[in-house]
């Protein structure tokens, strides 16, 4: 069972995302890469990064990195402390409500994201499909 966050987890996540027809459908017009930043907190010692290149419902590239210079600069960043990521993956936080309540921060065009809330929801659903160890 892959541990979150790790390169095994990211690999498994990207695989599941590409198998998820609901995501494929919701993200079929999306073009843009994004970075998930898992920030350090009491339960996690360092910031780590998950880079995803998403294009027309497909995840073309997924990279786990422990430093920003290991990944390309992305159009969107979604970041929050490790404990909130854990709650997000356990479906205790809604990804958009997470932004509105300050549990996560979004950098990039909110307007664009708002047209893809279904895709965002499917991305979280996919994360719940990965057998995850915390």
């Amino acid at each position: 069972m892959p541990k979150f966050p790790s390169s095994q987890w990211v690999e498994e996540y990207a695989k599941k995302l590409n198998e998820n027809d609901a995501y494929k459908d919701a993200g079929k017009t999306w073009e843009g890469d994004l970075v998930f930043v898992v920030e350090k907190d009491q339960s996690f010692p360092k910031d780590v990064y998950i880079y995803l290149d998403l294009y027309h419902g497909e995840c073309r590239k997924a990279v786990y990195a422990e430093s920003l210079d290991q990944i390309p600069k992305a159009a969107f960043t979604y970041k929050g402390p490790y404990s909130n990521w854990r709650r997000l993956i356990n479906k205790e936080i809604d990804p958009i409500q997470g932004i509105l309540t300050g549990k996560f921060k979004l950098e990039g065009s909110m307007m664009k994201i708002m047209r893809y809330t279904k895709a965002a929801k499917e991305m979280v659903n996919t994360a719940t499909m990965v057998q995850t160890e915390f």
Binding site: D25, I96, I99, T101, K105, S109, R115, T117, K121
Partner: protein
Amino acid sequence: MWFFRSPEIVFGEDSLSYLSTLDLKRVVIVTDRYLKESKVISMVKNSLPASAQIVVVGDVPAEPSFDDMLPSLENVRNFSPDWFIAVGGGSSIDTAKILFALYERPDLSVYDITPIVKLNLRKKSRLIAIPTTSGTGSECSWAAVVSERGEKRKNELASKEILPDIAILDPKMVIDLPEEQTRNTATDAIVHAIESYVSSWRNPYSDALAEKAIELITGNLPSVLIKADNIKAREQVHIGASMAGLSFSNSQIGLAHALGHAFGALFKIPHGKSVGIFLPSVVRFNYPYCSDRYDRLNAIFPEDIREKKLDLTLENFLNKIGQPLKIHQMGIDEKNYSNQVETIVELASESTGITTNPRDANREDIRNIAMSVVNLSK
């Protein structure tokens, strides 16, 4: 963690007179061209302190685009108001929200009006909303809809900072609302209450307001439609509609709005009609996922129109008040509609209402609901 946000609400008979108690010096009244010369604008002007200077921005078109607002923004900036008063339906109130934000912050673009940008408004002015329809809920919401010129898509802007400071619900402001608009806007309010009650963002505050909204609207709308100047019944519907507005503004809407926005934009259908027509089918689709909640709402409808299930009660109710349940009743050609159904499905899939709907809907589900309003066997 979640929030409950509301303006200060002044309601009931003579509530307009509250304006005279405020320190209003330079007032911009934002309204549409139909109301500009009307009795309601005179009533608002007459309620202002005698010393107040007034400029009327009276050219808000229905479903305004940002470009439509630019000349008014120039006027507003030249006048330097300390208060904005929106008088009208959703379009006027939404326009006032945008003018207010961009007057406060000339350095911002309309696309900065999102929940993730700190706007820091209210350095120069404040915002009052006085609805002249009972339904949109815009007076109580932190959202504003702006069309994109030449595009079918509408932008849903949102920021807690554009929530009006004060909402005034004076029944005199809706007493002359024509029957057609009374029905359409009240239908919109019913859809707000029902969608918010089962939204995945629902909460105890939005629940309580939705329940009361259904009680007030369904209990009083038939009387208003029989006797348009029944001011007591008008007042109850007006309050109910704002409660429905508060309810969805603090939770979310759902699939009927996702479909209704798309359908309304494509076929130029008034908002209330375009969301109402899909409501029974959406409720039917969602039923297995929230049957307890729907049954609870169903029990609030007046006994004489209540059926066993909410979807049937709604059909009965909408039929009784004269709202269409099929598109041919709106004079829309079914073939033409069927040809455009993929565009409706596409636009609806991009709406935020789709994610907070209690049951996940894929394209096929959305298409089925979109086609449920076509009566091919007719």
